[in-house]
């Protein structure tokens, strides 16, 4: 009993001293609570469908950030991982009759394999070369899919695969909980030693290599990790939509991922996730002006970029919080002194 009380008190102190002091942390907690409690508030099938898709794409956008944001290896062909994950799990489900909970991770492993296959030739390239070359891979795969319609379904894609779960609410919970979990894992990865090396590769690869670190191995690791997460999101998408079609490999798919991630702010993980939760429902809201929808989406992205070229969420975060000049701990913008070392904030 005492132990329980102790942990309760500890939880209370942590919430009071670590969470409530920073608006960004409060927002993250509220975001988790909102997503987990949404089906309690509404059973609206359409709304849940949108949020399920949003969660699936949030995983994809965050995985792009893990690779391209953190290691700076601009990947314009992220749809490859998504498509391989979708097709992989769909084919496994259809031909080997593996249920979704097994097919999705196996599809993701196929995406990891794809990451290795494209990573090995691509890592000799840098910057814009890499970006433009990676664009080619999903298109090559799409050509193969169209050329062998017997196995891959061609233009129509693979249909008739198993549903993710029995009900819409279960679908929603699977996607949301997986999204929250995987994004936390990605955020933890970027916070670990490996993540610091990823970040260092982005800033100055030569210096990292001079420090005795095999950068090629780490870049390949980034390709594989990112491929795994993107593959899971592809598998979820295939089983949720019950179809794996060539649209998962389209150039516009790769471009949309880049838009989400840069719009939200790269090298953050939370930025791309937030951006998907802003932009994807926005696109659905605009469905009342069906013919203007994409145009307005593009205009919103352009306008936001003109004023916040570093992305929406880092900009917002800098507005409400500031960093202590002495101990580098973040504080609410309204404070005059740092909450830890009491140094005056400017």
């Amino acid at each position: 009993m005492d132990l329980i009380l102790f942990y309760l008190r500890k939880l209370f102190t942590v919430i009071k001293n670590e969470v409530l002091v920073l608006p960004s942390r409060v927002v993250v907690v509220l975001f988790f609570l909102f997503l987990l409690l949404l089906p309690v508030l509404t059973k609206d099938s359409y709304l849940l469908r949108i949020f399920t898709l949003t969660s699936i794409f949030a995983i994809l956008a965050a995985s792009w950030d893990l690779l391209s944001g953190f290691t700076g290896q601009m990947n314009f062909g992220h749809a490859l991982f998504f498509g391989v994950g979708a097709y992989g799990s769909a084919l496994l489900n259809l031909h080997a009759h593996i249920p979704p909970w097994g097919a999705i991770p196996l599809g993701a492993l196929l995406a990891v394999l794809a990451g290795l296959i494209i990573g090995i030739p691509c890592l000799r390239l840098k910057g814009t070369y890499l970006a433009l070359t990676t664009l080619a891979f999903p298109i090559i795969l799409m050509g193969l899919i169209f050329a062998f319609p017997g196995f891959t379904g061609g233009e129509l894609g693979i249909s008739g695969i198993a549903r993710l779960a029995r009900s819409r609410v279960a679908d929603y919970y699977i996607a949301t909980v997986l999204m929250l979990g995987l994004c936390t894992i990605m955020w933890k990865i970027t916070d670990s030693d490996t993540g610091i090396i990823f970040h260092a590769i982005r800033e100055d690869e030569l210096a990292v290599r001079a420090a005795g670190i095999n950068t090629t191995r780490y870049k390949l690791l980034a390709f594989c990790l990112s491929g795994f997460f993107a593959g899971i999101s592809g598998g979820l998408y295939a089983h949720f939509m019950k179809i794996a079609g060539p649209s998962t490999l389209e150039v516009s798919m790769s471009f949309t991922v880049v838009i989400w991630a840069i719009f939200g702010g790269i090298v953050t993980i939370y930025g791309p996730v937030g951006a998907v939760f802003v932009l994807f429902p926005l696109l659905e809201l605009l469905r009342f002006w069906q013919e203007l929808r994409i145009l307005m989406f593009a205009v919103v992205v352009l306008l936001i970029l003109l004023y916040m070229p570093d992305g929406l969420f880092p900009w917002l975060r800098d507005k409400v919080e500031k960093e202590c000049p002495r101990c580098k701990i973040r504080n609410v913008a309204t404070r005059n002194t740092c909450r830890v070392c009491t140094a005056p904030l400017d």
């Binding site: 664009l135 080619a136 050509g143 150039v251 471009f255 145009l295 970029l305 070229p309």
Partner: protein, 291 residues
């Protein structure tokens, strides 16, 4: 024999189109380090422009071409001024700004002309039969005009003061600036030339293709492949790479049974194979920042 001629004609036409597009893309990348995804979107806008002037207003196609080139060049420069120039320091932001611009242009064209397939009459009709293969005069014209424009561009870049300024800005921005070259102005002018080339490409190729708002996607991919294959910023490389990929496409289309699906895949695989051997492309230029 007819087969060989078919491949040659098809390869020369698509090669010229890719060369024109890739040279424009390479130019603006070299001078301003902008990866302009919207480049082929301007090509699409030019094609629609001609359709509007010719089919809707009833003028001669030549007027349509002139109007298209001028309008698209202006449009490109305005877009550069308003949308890209303020965020040029942020590489990622420029990237998605051009993607968003391309999407916006596609949507505007869809709204104005709907998404249906359209076509434009040829500038000159008729054809000549060589070795049993129909060679349309329009195809010959497109090829010759493309060659002329590339020659003119070569003269502009290699023989004039403006060309010298563009080339030196591409080589080293800081030093060019120290020598009194207005770097921002050069970027603006180069953007004009680059988009003008895209508009011109749209103008010469439109009678040979079908108009639809998504027509910029395939050339965009091929253009990027050409630029990477030839070496970023190298005009010679872009020229050669364009014909290599153009002929590769033509061969696949005429040889393989599912050729039209595989043409993109094969061309892109060639690009990747070349990159495996020469990571900087055929004629890669050594950029100062990318050390």
């Amino acid at each position: 024999m007819g087969f060989v001629l078919n491949v040659i004609i098809s390869g020369l036409i698509s090669g010229s189109v890719y060369a024109l597009l890739a040279i424009g893309f390479s130019l603006i990348f070299g001078v301003a380090r902008i990866v302009n995804i919207a480049h082929t979107a301007f090509y699409m806008v030019a094609a629609y422009c001609i359709f509007f002037v010719t089919n809707k207003m009833g003028f001669h196609p030549l007027w349509g071409m002139a109007a298209a080139i001028v309008l698209v060049t202006l449009l490109g420069m305005i877009c550069y001024r308003i949308l890209i120039n303020p965020i040029r320091e942020h590489e990622g932001a420029v990237l998605i700004a051009t993607i968003a611009l391309a999407m916006a242009l596609q949507e505007i064209m869809t709204m104005m002309f709907t998404g249906t397939y359209l076509s434009v009459p040829s500038l000159i009709g008729g054809y000549v039969v060589i070795l049993g293969v129909k060679v349309f005069y329009q195809q010959l014209l497109t090829f010759c005009v493309a060659m002329l424009v590339m020659a003119a561009l070569w003269v502009l870049l290699m023989r004039t003061k403006l060309g010298l300024a563009i080339r030196s800005t591409a080589q080293d921005k800081e030093v060019a600036n120290l020598m009194g070259i207005d770097e921002a102005g050069m970027a603006m002018i180069t953007m004009g030339i680059s988009v003008g080339l895209a508009g011109f490409t749209g103008a010469v190729v439109v009678p040979l293709t079908i108009l639809e708002p998504g027509m910029w996607m395939h050339p965009l991919i091929m253009m990027m492949a050409v630029v990477v294959l030839g070496g970023l910023g190298s005009l010679k490389g872009s020229f050669l790479g364009a014909y290599i990929l153009g002929f590769a496409e033509a061969l696949v289309v005429f040889l393989a049974p599912m050729g039209s699906f595989l043409k993109g895949s094969v061309a892109l695989s060639i690009m990747i194979l070349v990159l495996l051997i020469r990571p900087e492309g055929l004629f890669g230029v050594y950029f100062e920042e990318e050390r």
